[in-house]
Protein backbone atom coordinates (compact mmCIF):
# COMPACT_ATOMS: atom_id res chain seq x y z
CA UNK A 1 0.00 0.00 0.00
CA UNK A 2 1.60 3.24 -1.14
CA UNK A 3 0.54 6.85 -0.79
CA UNK A 4 -0.80 6.88 -4.32
CA UNK A 5 -3.16 4.00 -3.50
CA UNK A 6 -4.67 5.79 -0.53
CA UNK A 7 -5.29 8.95 -2.56
CA UNK A 8 -7.01 7.04 -5.34
CA UNK A 9 -9.08 5.17 -2.75
CA UNK A 10 -10.62 8.48 -1.72
CA UNK A 11 -11.56 9.34 -5.29
CA UNK A 12 -12.94 6.02 -6.51
CA UNK A 13 -15.03 4.01 -4.16
CA UNK A 14 -15.32 0.43 -5.26
CA UNK A 15 -17.93 -0.65 -2.71
CA UNK A 16 -20.86 0.37 -4.87
CA UNK A 17 -21.66 3.49 -2.91
CA UNK A 18 -20.40 5.86 -5.62
CA UNK A 19 -21.91 6.63 -8.99
CA UNK A 20 -19.53 4.28 -10.75
CA UNK A 21 -20.51 0.65 -10.34
CA UNK A 22 -17.77 -1.82 -9.39
CA UNK A 23 -16.23 -3.69 -12.28
CA UNK A 24 -17.80 -7.06 -11.56
CA UNK A 25 -21.25 -5.44 -11.36
CA UNK A 26 -21.01 -3.25 -14.42
CA UNK A 27 -23.76 -4.38 -16.78
CA UNK A 28 -22.81 -5.34 -20.29
CA UNK A 29 -24.44 -3.61 -23.26
CA UNK A 30 -26.58 -6.68 -23.81
CA UNK A 31 -27.80 -6.52 -20.24
CA UNK A 32 -28.51 -2.82 -20.55
CA UNK A 33 -30.58 -3.47 -23.64
CA UNK A 34 -32.48 -6.28 -21.93
CA UNK A 35 -33.42 -4.00 -19.10
CA UNK A 36 -34.98 -1.34 -21.22
CA UNK A 37 -38.37 -2.93 -21.72
CA UNK A 38 -41.08 -5.00 -20.18
CA UNK A 39 -40.72 -7.19 -17.10
CA UNK A 40 -36.93 -7.11 -17.11
CA UNK A 41 -37.02 -3.31 -16.89
CA UNK A 42 -39.56 -3.43 -14.09
CA UNK A 43 -37.49 -5.99 -12.18
CA UNK A 44 -34.31 -4.01 -12.67
CA UNK A 45 -35.89 -0.78 -11.53
CA UNK A 46 -37.41 -2.47 -8.51
CA UNK A 47 -34.15 -4.01 -7.34
CA UNK A 48 -32.15 -0.92 -8.15
CA UNK A 49 -34.53 1.24 -6.11
CA UNK A 50 -34.49 -1.22 -3.22
CA UNK A 51 -30.69 -1.28 -3.25
CA UNK A 52 -30.57 2.52 -3.42
CA UNK A 53 -32.95 2.90 -0.49
CA UNK A 54 -30.98 0.42 1.56
CA UNK A 55 -27.78 2.27 0.77
CA UNK A 56 -29.26 5.65 1.70
CA UNK A 57 -30.60 4.25 4.93
CA UNK A 58 -27.21 2.86 5.86
CA UNK A 59 -25.37 6.05 5.00
CA UNK A 60 -27.59 8.38 7.01
CA UNK A 61 -27.85 5.92 9.87
CA UNK A 62 -25.70 6.24 12.95
CA UNK A 63 -25.68 2.48 13.28
CA UNK A 64 -22.12 1.24 13.31
CA UNK A 65 -21.70 -1.34 10.59
CA UNK A 66 -19.48 -4.19 11.52
CA UNK A 67 -17.52 -6.38 9.17
CA UNK A 68 -17.97 -9.34 11.48
CA UNK A 69 -21.56 -10.05 12.46
CA UNK A 70 -20.76 -13.24 14.37
CA UNK A 71 -17.97 -15.64 15.08
CA UNK A 72 -17.25 -18.29 12.46
CA UNK A 73 -18.45 -21.81 13.17
CA UNK A 74 -14.95 -23.17 12.70
CA UNK A 75 -12.88 -22.86 14.75
CA UNK A 76 -14.44 -20.52 17.33
CA UNK A 77 -17.86 -22.05 17.90
CA UNK A 78 -16.73 -25.65 17.41
CA UNK A 79 -13.88 -25.35 19.90
CA UNK A 80 -16.16 -23.72 22.46
CA UNK A 81 -18.88 -26.33 21.96
CA UNK A 82 -16.32 -29.13 22.20
CA UNK A 83 -15.14 -27.76 25.53
CA UNK A 84 -18.71 -27.57 26.87
CA UNK A 85 -19.63 -31.00 25.53
CA UNK A 86 -16.44 -32.53 26.93
CA UNK A 87 -17.22 -31.08 30.36
CA UNK A 88 -20.71 -32.53 30.48
CA UNK A 89 -19.68 -35.92 29.06
CA UNK A 90 -16.88 -36.05 31.61
CA UNK A 91 -19.32 -35.17 34.39
CA UNK A 92 -21.70 -37.92 33.24
CA UNK A 93 -18.87 -40.48 33.20
CA UNK A 94 -17.57 -39.32 36.58
CA UNK A 95 -20.95 -39.45 38.32
CA UNK A 96 -21.99 -42.77 36.76
CA UNK A 97 -18.64 -44.27 37.77
CA UNK A 98 -18.57 -42.94 41.34
CA UNK A 99 -22.25 -42.95 42.29
CA UNK A 100 -23.92 -45.86 40.45
CA UNK A 101 -27.57 -45.94 41.55
CA UNK A 102 -29.05 -49.11 42.91
CA UNK A 103 -31.50 -50.79 40.60
CA UNK A 104 -34.78 -50.98 42.46
CA UNK A 105 -37.33 -53.77 42.63
CA UNK A 106 -39.42 -54.31 39.50
CA UNK A 107 -42.85 -52.68 39.44
CA UNK A 108 -45.66 -54.83 40.77
CA UNK A 109 -48.41 -54.91 38.13
CA UNK A 110 -50.97 -56.45 40.47
CA UNK A 111 -51.11 -53.51 42.90
CA UNK A 112 -52.34 -50.00 42.05
CA UNK A 113 -50.15 -47.25 43.53
CA UNK A 114 -51.82 -44.73 45.84
CA UNK A 115 -50.74 -41.71 43.76
CA UNK A 116 -51.30 -41.77 40.01
CA UNK A 117 -49.80 -38.90 38.07
CA UNK A 118 -48.34 -38.46 34.59
CA UNK A 119 -44.86 -37.07 34.06
CA UNK A 120 -44.51 -33.58 35.48
CA UNK A 121 -44.59 -31.83 32.09
CA UNK A 122 -48.07 -33.25 31.43
CA UNK A 123 -49.60 -32.10 34.72
CA UNK A 124 -51.36 -29.20 32.93
CA UNK A 125 -53.09 -31.61 30.56
CA UNK A 126 -53.99 -33.90 33.45
CA UNK A 127 -55.47 -30.89 35.25
CA UNK A 128 -57.56 -29.97 32.20
CA UNK A 129 -59.18 -33.42 32.40
CA UNK A 130 -60.59 -32.44 35.82
CA UNK A 131 -62.65 -29.45 34.66
CA UNK A 132 -65.92 -31.22 35.41
CA UNK A 133 -67.32 -28.30 37.48
CA UNK A 134 -67.13 -26.10 34.36
CA UNK A 135 -69.22 -28.51 32.30
CA UNK A 136 -72.64 -26.80 32.25
CA UNK A 137 -75.84 -28.59 33.11
CA UNK A 138 -78.12 -27.27 30.43
CA UNK A 139 -81.75 -26.60 31.37
CA UNK A 140 -82.75 -27.10 27.72
CA UNK A 141 -81.64 -30.70 28.12
CA UNK A 142 -83.54 -31.01 31.39
CA UNK A 143 -80.50 -30.49 33.59
CA UNK A 144 -78.46 -32.94 31.58
CA UNK A 145 -74.88 -32.27 30.50
CA UNK A 146 -74.23 -32.04 26.80
CA UNK A 147 -71.22 -34.31 27.03
CA UNK A 148 -69.53 -36.42 29.64
CA UNK A 149 -66.98 -34.74 31.92
CA UNK A 150 -64.14 -36.74 30.42
CA UNK A 151 -65.10 -35.66 26.88
CA UNK A 152 -65.27 -32.09 28.15
CA UNK A 153 -61.76 -32.41 29.58
CA UNK A 154 -60.37 -33.68 26.30
CA UNK A 155 -62.02 -30.78 24.44
CA UNK A 156 -60.50 -28.36 26.97
CA UNK A 157 -57.08 -29.60 25.85
CA UNK A 158 -57.99 -28.73 22.27
CA UNK A 159 -59.10 -25.24 23.33
CA UNK A 160 -55.85 -24.52 25.19
CA UNK A 161 -53.63 -25.89 22.42
CA UNK A 162 -55.68 -23.99 19.86
CA UNK A 163 -55.27 -20.72 21.79
CA UNK A 164 -51.52 -21.21 22.03
CA UNK A 165 -51.45 -21.87 18.28
CA UNK A 166 -53.50 -18.76 17.47
CA UNK A 167 -51.47 -16.27 19.55
CA UNK A 168 -48.64 -15.91 16.99
CA UNK A 169 -51.22 -14.92 14.37
CA UNK A 170 -52.77 -12.30 16.65
CA UNK A 171 -49.40 -10.78 17.62
CA UNK A 172 -46.28 -11.15 15.55
CA UNK A 173 -44.02 -10.48 18.51
CA UNK A 174 -42.21 -7.41 17.18
CA UNK A 175 -41.65 -6.12 20.72
CA UNK A 176 -38.16 -6.58 22.03
CA UNK A 177 -39.07 -6.29 25.66
CA UNK A 178 -42.33 -6.65 27.55
CA UNK A 179 -42.69 -2.95 28.28
CA UNK A 180 -43.25 -2.26 24.60
CA UNK A 181 -46.47 -4.30 24.49
CA UNK A 182 -47.88 -4.55 28.02
CA UNK A 183 -51.07 -6.33 26.98
CA UNK A 184 -49.35 -9.21 25.26
CA UNK A 185 -46.79 -9.47 28.00
CA UNK A 186 -49.72 -9.75 30.42
CA UNK A 187 -51.24 -12.50 28.26
CA UNK A 188 -47.95 -14.37 28.40
CA UNK A 189 -47.58 -14.01 32.16
CA UNK A 190 -51.18 -15.11 32.64
CA UNK A 191 -50.53 -18.18 30.50
CA UNK A 192 -47.45 -19.12 32.48
CA UNK A 193 -49.31 -18.72 35.77
CA UNK A 194 -52.23 -20.75 34.41
CA UNK A 195 -49.80 -23.52 33.44
CA UNK A 196 -48.65 -23.65 37.06
CA UNK A 197 -52.09 -23.38 38.66
CA UNK A 198 -53.70 -26.00 36.43
CA UNK A 199 -50.70 -28.26 37.11
CA UNK A 200 -51.21 -27.86 40.85
CA UNK A 201 -54.94 -28.43 40.42
CA UNK A 202 -54.22 -31.72 38.64
CA UNK A 203 -53.15 -33.10 42.03
CA UNK A 204 -56.21 -31.71 43.78
CA UNK A 205 -56.69 -34.87 45.85
CA UNK A 206 -53.26 -34.26 47.41
CA UNK A 207 -53.74 -30.51 48.01
CA UNK A 208 -53.95 -29.53 51.68
CA UNK A 209 -56.70 -26.98 50.94
CA UNK A 210 -60.34 -26.67 49.98
CA UNK A 211 -60.86 -28.16 46.53
CA UNK A 212 -63.39 -25.50 45.50
CA UNK A 213 -61.02 -22.73 46.56
CA UNK A 214 -58.22 -24.38 44.61
CA UNK A 215 -60.48 -24.57 41.55
CA UNK A 216 -61.34 -20.87 41.79
CA UNK A 217 -57.72 -19.86 42.34
CA UNK A 218 -56.71 -21.90 39.29
CA UNK A 219 -58.57 -19.44 37.08
CA UNK A 220 -58.36 -16.29 39.19
CA UNK A 221 -54.62 -16.21 39.82
CA UNK A 222 -53.71 -16.03 36.10
CA UNK A 223 -56.11 -13.10 35.62
CA UNK A 224 -54.80 -11.30 38.70
CA UNK A 225 -51.18 -11.94 37.72
CA UNK A 226 -51.82 -10.79 34.17
CA UNK A 227 -53.52 -7.60 35.36
CA UNK A 228 -50.66 -6.81 37.76
CA UNK A 229 -48.17 -7.36 34.94
CA UNK A 230 -50.16 -5.10 32.65
CA UNK A 231 -50.41 -2.35 35.28
CA UNK A 232 -46.70 -2.51 36.15
CA UNK A 233 -45.62 -2.43 32.52
CA UNK A 234 -48.02 0.42 31.74
CA UNK A 235 -46.43 2.37 34.59
CA UNK A 236 -42.94 1.52 33.38
CA UNK A 237 -43.76 2.87 29.91
CA UNK A 238 -43.77 6.38 31.35
CA UNK A 239 -40.06 6.34 31.96
CA UNK A 240 -39.14 4.06 29.11
CA UNK A 241 -36.53 5.69 26.93
CA UNK A 242 -37.49 4.98 23.35
CA UNK A 243 -34.68 7.13 22.07
CA UNK A 244 -32.19 4.65 23.42
CA UNK A 245 -33.59 1.98 21.14
CA UNK A 246 -34.00 4.05 18.00
CA UNK A 247 -30.74 2.82 16.56
CA UNK A 248 -31.89 -0.78 16.81
CA UNK A 249 -35.11 0.00 14.99
CA UNK A 250 -33.08 0.89 11.94
CA UNK A 251 -32.32 -2.74 11.40
CA UNK A 252 -35.86 -3.99 11.98
CA UNK A 253 -38.28 -1.09 12.21
CA UNK A 254 -41.49 -1.44 14.22
CA UNK A 255 -44.81 -1.62 12.46
Amino acid sequence: MTDEDTTTDDDVRADGSGIVAPDDETPTWRERKERTQGLSQLTYEYFERARREDQDLRQESDYVERDVLAFPTWPHEIIRNLAIASFFVGMLLFLSATLPPHIGDPANPSSTPAIILPDWYLYWSFGLLKLGPLNPELSILGGQKLMADRTYGVLANLVVVGFVAIVPFLNKGSARRPVEQPFWAAVGVGGVIFAFTISIYSAKNLLPMNVHLAFDLTFLLPIVGGFITWAVLKTMREGYMYDLNRRYYRLRPPK
Binding site: T98, L99, P101, H102, G104
Partner: protein, 91 residues
Protein backbone atom coordinates in the same frame (compact mmCIF):
# COMPACT_ATOMS: atom_id res chain seq x y z
CA UNK B 1 -14.12 -8.88 42.86
CA UNK B 2 -15.17 -11.14 40.00
CA UNK B 3 -11.94 -13.09 40.41
CA UNK B 4 -12.63 -13.67 44.08
CA UNK B 5 -16.15 -14.77 43.26
CA UNK B 6 -15.06 -17.37 40.73
CA UNK B 7 -12.39 -18.67 43.10
CA UNK B 8 -15.03 -19.17 45.77
CA UNK B 9 -17.40 -20.73 43.25
CA UNK B 10 -14.70 -23.11 42.06
CA UNK B 11 -13.99 -24.23 45.60
CA UNK B 12 -17.70 -24.52 46.38
CA UNK B 13 -18.51 -26.67 43.35
CA UNK B 14 -15.29 -28.70 43.20
CA UNK B 15 -15.00 -29.55 46.87
CA UNK B 16 -18.77 -29.93 47.09
CA UNK B 17 -18.68 -32.51 44.30
CA UNK B 18 -15.90 -34.46 46.03
CA UNK B 19 -17.84 -34.35 49.32
CA UNK B 20 -21.02 -35.48 47.56
CA UNK B 21 -19.28 -38.50 46.05
CA UNK B 22 -17.65 -39.55 49.34
CA UNK B 23 -20.87 -38.99 51.27
CA UNK B 24 -22.61 -41.10 48.65
CA UNK B 25 -20.18 -43.89 49.52
CA UNK B 26 -20.07 -43.66 53.30
CA UNK B 27 -23.22 -41.83 54.43
CA UNK B 28 -25.87 -43.19 52.04
CA UNK B 29 -27.31 -46.59 52.94
CA UNK B 30 -29.51 -46.58 49.83
CA UNK B 31 -30.52 -44.17 47.11
CA UNK B 32 -34.14 -44.97 47.94
CA UNK B 33 -33.77 -44.11 51.61
CA UNK B 34 -34.90 -40.80 53.05
CA UNK B 35 -31.52 -40.11 54.66
CA UNK B 36 -29.08 -39.62 51.83
CA UNK B 37 -25.61 -38.05 52.28
CA UNK B 38 -26.38 -37.28 55.95
CA UNK B 39 -27.06 -40.60 57.64
CA UNK B 40 -24.47 -41.61 60.28
CA UNK B 41 -21.20 -43.10 59.07
CA UNK B 42 -21.09 -46.86 59.49
CA UNK B 43 -17.75 -48.46 58.76
CA UNK B 44 -18.02 -52.23 58.91
CA UNK B 45 -15.46 -54.75 60.12
CA UNK B 46 -14.04 -55.00 56.62
CA UNK B 47 -13.15 -51.30 56.49
CA UNK B 48 -9.65 -50.78 55.17
CA UNK B 49 -7.27 -47.91 55.70
CA UNK B 50 -8.63 -46.34 52.50
CA UNK B 51 -12.17 -46.29 53.93
CA UNK B 52 -10.93 -44.50 57.04
CA UNK B 53 -9.04 -42.10 54.80
CA UNK B 54 -12.17 -41.55 52.72
CA UNK B 55 -14.26 -40.65 55.76
CA UNK B 56 -11.56 -38.23 56.88
CA UNK B 57 -11.39 -36.67 53.40
CA UNK B 58 -15.19 -36.42 53.33
CA UNK B 59 -15.19 -34.24 56.45
CA UNK B 60 -12.25 -32.23 55.14
CA UNK B 61 -14.00 -31.56 51.83
CA UNK B 62 -17.20 -30.60 53.64
CA UNK B 63 -15.54 -27.92 55.73
CA UNK B 64 -13.34 -26.81 52.85
CA UNK B 65 -16.50 -26.28 50.79
CA UNK B 66 -18.00 -24.00 53.42
CA UNK B 67 -14.94 -22.22 54.80
CA UNK B 68 -13.21 -21.89 51.44
CA UNK B 69 -16.21 -20.30 49.75
CA UNK B 70 -16.89 -18.04 52.72
CA UNK B 71 -13.24 -16.95 52.73
CA UNK B 72 -13.37 -15.67 49.17
CA UNK B 73 -16.95 -14.41 49.20
CA UNK B 74 -17.00 -12.79 52.63
CA UNK B 75 -13.64 -12.87 54.39
CA UNK B 76 -11.30 -11.33 51.81
CA UNK B 77 -13.78 -8.61 50.69
CA UNK B 78 -14.39 -7.67 54.32
CA UNK B 79 -10.64 -7.39 54.98
CA UNK B 80 -10.19 -5.24 51.88
CA UNK B 81 -13.06 -2.95 52.76
CA UNK B 82 -11.78 -2.60 56.29
CA UNK B 83 -8.29 -1.77 55.06
CA UNK B 84 -9.66 0.88 52.69
CA UNK B 85 -11.72 2.39 55.47
CA UNK B 86 -8.70 2.49 57.77
CA UNK B 87 -6.57 4.16 55.11
CA UNK B 88 -9.28 6.73 54.42
CA UNK B 89 -9.55 7.52 58.10
CA UNK B 90 -5.78 7.91 58.39
CA UNK B 91 -5.74 10.56 55.67
Amino acid sequence: MADEFVKGLGIFTGAGLAWMVLAGWYRTPSFESEQQLVSPVSLGESATMFDTLGVLLMDMFFWFTIIGALTFWVGIPVIRQAREAIEERAQ
